[in-house]
Assembly symmetry: C2
Homo-oligomer: 219 residues x 2
């Protein structure tokens, strides 16, 4: 559900989003295989485990710089390395987080994000009681100073964890401060100018789907 | 991305998942309008704000028990109430969380979930150092006792925040203990028997899409 505006620069090899969304599943599976010291895996074996057609998997992996061997399959360690690298999980991406409330604080304390290449380097908030404090060594600044903070920490990504009614206003402020990508945790559909990447992750919206299906399956 | 197996009981009015996923956007927007004391809103006005076609919005809202007035639109307060109720956000859904590590702890401390109808009533883990402790009044039990804990707390939902290589094993344990819905935060594609609802929310997978688009837009 990334909103992306078409770019008018020469066309490059843009990976379709469904493929991009499946790659982390493959990575998860091959990481597990590696932890079990499995050396090779075929797309058929992956398919069986994660419910994606083998032909689809082979097609998805053809975007990467790796080839399976006939009748043996892919080398697990190499496939894991290539996937992790392609997905950007082994690089450091700096992010500021706007809104250091309950969810913002939770994301700062989640060390899992670091393992997937995301470094939350600073928090920004309007609340004078937390401005000047730090959470797990992440300093919290006044939202007024966002432009300077973002620049000093070389953060291209702004994570938006403000109350839903502040989502658009916060997005505008982040973009004005030079953010190139917004990771929006509110269910609000923010509007952005061309060239800004928006990733929506509304975990609360996912709850609605689950409740609904739960009632249907177990009336 | 909820995996749902077709049910063979008489067909009921099942809302398409895309519609279900848009409803929280409408709710977010009308909640904001209500906080600004706006009384009526048309589907055209909503469309303008959140980038969904007005006809689509009208169609989505037709699933709900509410009608807009010609030339005036929907009553904001009523629409908010109907949406919140339809989405199940005003009911209490009990959940146990399996894996009280960094992400699990973060979800327990996120009071936002409660506002969307989810009560995390207990944690389960294998780590003897945290078994017996509590986090924000949520007690942590031994995973061995999951069946009893789940039953005592009337929790139909199990949240899975274990390391990726334990995802399938944990799902199997949760289902054996009587869980009817799994909220899977790992990127692993777990397999489940018929009748079990699975909601996948891999926030780390979303990062991959964002990194990729960020590199394309800002080479």
């Amino acid at each position: 559900m990334t909103q992306i505006v078409p770019i008018k620069t020469p066309l490059r090899d843009i990976m379709p989003e469904p493929t991009l969304r499946r790659l982390p599943w493959y990575l998860a599976y091959v990481s597990m295989l590696r932890s079990r010291n499995v050396e090779y895996v075929s797309s058929t074996a992956i398919a069986k485990e994660i419910n994606v057609e083998a032909t689809q998997i082979a097609k998805d992996l053809s975007f990467l710089n790796i080839r399976g061997k006939t009748r043996i399959g892919y080398a697990v360690a190499a496939l894991e390395r290539v996937l992790r690298s392609y997905l950007g999980f082994n690089r450091e991406h700096n992010a500021v987080i706007i809104g250091v409330g309950s969810l913002g604080r939770a994301l700062i304390t989640d060390s899992g994000l670091t393992r997937y290449g995301l470094d939350i380097v600073a928090g920004l908030d309007v609340n004078p009681e937390i401005i000047g404090s730090s959470i797990m060594n992440v300093p919290v600044f006044d939202i007024k100073d966002i432009a300077e903070v973002r620049k000093n920490f070389s953060a291209e990504i702004a994570i938006i964890t403000v109350p839903v009614e502040k989502a658009q206003e916060t997005a505008d402020i982040a973009i004005a401060a030079g953010a190139k990508a917004l990771w929006n945790f509110t269910p609000f559909r923010i509007r952005t100018p061309e060239g800004i990447v928006v990733q929506n992750t509304s975990i609360y919206a996912h709850l609605a789907v689950m409740y609904n299906r739960l009632n249907l399956v177990n009336p």
